[in-house]
């Protein structure tokens, strides 16, 4: 028997029908994949092995692919600054005057803040550690808006960390692999971010729709927002720290309130990934471990109910003031009820 290179060479099947069956099988596989996808859960285990593998490979590849563009951009920037140096100088001079006023005001406000905090005994949140990463790939379509940053699990990044550019909030980490993190942008159609209007303190949910300006939904109150109002993260729900800059409110063409994102005003080459899980990490664990009850003081200084942490061997002090003193003489009998 002659050796055949193609064992299926003589197989005769009606191609059109077989192609139709192949198409149906492929479609069924696609639907099954879609139904089993759990991207919206934003959980570590939902970010599958395939996504992690592709991200791990894509990060260095994207870095290499983006390098010529980055060099060209740097070169154009250098040429632009060289050609327009006189105009740029004048513009920067004007800007310095404005910034100097703001810097003076900032010093005054910082001083006032420190004094008021000292008076009120307010404790500020400790600084949140962060990781700096470079964006190596970018998806800008209507159904998915995400970026790939070249810092991953080896840098301590986990799912849920907020991501900022030098101007404002960019999004949240939704997937982590070794050497890469997938950042879901605020503009993604699945993104929901609790925000507040700085002027009125009104709360809203920033809802992405795949376009450049996400919507402000569930906005309550009269005059809650005006054109140009600053929008910050509200910290509600504890997924993001409070007060991160998001953007400015504008009225969209559809009549809805939208946000022009601060992070969108320039190229996002570098991002900072805040290592923020929730507010619990801001608390001092050592202090929380001590279960000390606050002292309860009555009018009498001698009548402290609890003034020391309970210990297993300690005998709780006798409640002195809570027991009424025994009367020396029995109370007089009440008078007989009138008949």
């Amino acid at each position: 028997m002659a050796f055949r290179q193609d064992p299926f060479g003589d197989l005769k099947v009606p191609l059109t029908w077989t192609a139709a069956v192949a198409l149906i099988v492929a479609a069924v596989v696609g639907v099954a994949a879609l139904l089993s996808d759990r991207r919206e859960t934003l959980q570590t285990e939902a970010y599958g092995v395939a996504r992690q593998a592709v991200d791990t490979v894509s990060a260095p590849v994207g870095g290499v692919v983006a390098a010529p563009g980055r060099w060209t951009g740097d070169l154009l920037g250098w040429l632009g600054s060289y050609v327009f140096v006189a105009g740029e100088n004048r513009r920067l001079g004007r800007r310095i005057i404005v910034l100097q006023d703001q810097a003076d005001e900032a010093v005054r406000l910082r001083d006032e803040n420190e004094r008021l905090r000292a008076m009120l005994g307010v404790r500020t949140d400790p600084p949140i550690p962060m990781v700096t990463a470079r964006v190596v790939a970018d998806s800008r379509g209507p159904y998915s808006n995400s970026r790939l940053a070249n810092a991953g699990s080896e840098s301590g990044v986990v799912v849920g960390f907020p991501v900022l550019s030098e101007r404002g909030l960019v999004g949240r980490v939704v997937g982590v692999s070794r050497g890469a993190s997938r950042v879901l942008l605020l503009t993604d159609v699945a993104a929901r971010t609790p925000v507040m209007v700085d002027r009125s303190n009104a709360r809203a949910i920033l809802t992405g729709d795949g376009g450049p300006n996400p919507k402000l939904e569930y906005l309550r109150g009269r005059e809650a927002v005006r054109d140009g109002d600053r929008v910050l993260t509200s910290g509600d729900g504890g997924v993001l720290p409070r007060g991160l800059p998001v953007g400015r409110a504008v009225r969209g063409l559809d009549g809805r309130w939208r946000v022009v994102l601060d992070a969108d005003t320039g190229a996002i080459d570098w991002v900072r990934i805040l290592k923020f899980r929730d507010y619990a990490q801001l608390a001092n664990e050592a202090e929380l471990a001590v279960t000390r009850m606050p002292p309860v003081i009555t009018e009498s200084r001698q009548a402290r109910i609890i003034d020391s942490p309970p210990t297993p061997t300690a005998i709780p002090p006798k409640p002195v003031a809570t027991t009424p003193p025994k009367p020396a003489t029995p109370p007089a009998k009440p008078a007989a009820a009138p008949r």
Binding site: L15, T16, T18, A19, A20, A22, L23, V25, A26, A27, V29, G30, V31, A32, A33, L34, L35, S36, D37, R39, E40, G48, A50, R51, V54, S58, V61, G62, V65, A66, G69, R70, G73, V135, V136, A137, D138, S139, R140, G141, P142, Y143, S144, S146, R147, V174, G175, R182, L184, D188, V189, A190, T207, D209, G210, G211, A267, I268, D269
Partner: protein, 171 residues
């Protein structure tokens, strides 16, 4: 008359190479580069394959390669796995069904057919996204991607022109 002498198309040439080129182009355009403050467009390159392969001839391999290409787009763009695979397969199926009507049409008419199939793909993606996240994507954003994909027809024409007559059974 027997077709045994007819040399079938080499799947690597008309399916493998175009699919790899589409993936390469997708990776290239995903670079985070801004020109004059604007980001690069994001066309759906595998749409060229979905249309071209269906016009050239029915195939057993093409739907599965399209499934894999779509899955790559889903993973690389961070979309739900299956979104682009289903969208591209829908366009492939629609093109395959209407293949007899397209045969022999002029280039502008074929471009119109391609644009229609691109609309089918993006509409499918729109509906899947609506069902998945319970929110409607921006129609303006969808239109920009539609426009960026619609202008890719010359690549599809090149693919069809190159392989349409390669298999005599499907002339």
């Amino acid at each position: 008359m027997s077709f045994s002498a007819a040399r079938p198309l080499d799947p690597w040439r008309w399916i493998g190479v175009p699919a790899l080129l589409c993936i390469g182009a997708t990776v290239l355009l995903a670079a985070p580069i801004r020109l004059f403050g604007l980001g690069l467009p994001e066309p759906v390159f595998p749409m060229v394959c979905a249309f071209g392969w269906a016009v050239i001839r029915p195939s057993i391999l093409a739907p599965f390669v399209l499934l894999l290409t779509g899955a790559f787009l889903d993973i690389y763009w961070g979309a739900p796995i299956g979104l682009w695979a289903i969208s591209l397969l829908t366009a492939y199926a629609a093109t395959l069904i209407m293949r007899n009507m397209m045969t022999g049409q002029s280039r502008p008419m074929m471009w119109a057919w391609y644009v229609s199939m691109t609309a089918v793909t993006l509409t499918t993606g729109y509906l899947i996204t609506m069902l998945d996240v319970k929110a409607a994507p921006s129609l303006i954003a969808v239109f920009w991607q539609f426009l960026a994909t619609a202008i890719l027809y010359p690549f599809a024409h090149r693919l069809i022109d190159r392989f349409e007559d390669a298999d005599v059974r499907f002339r």
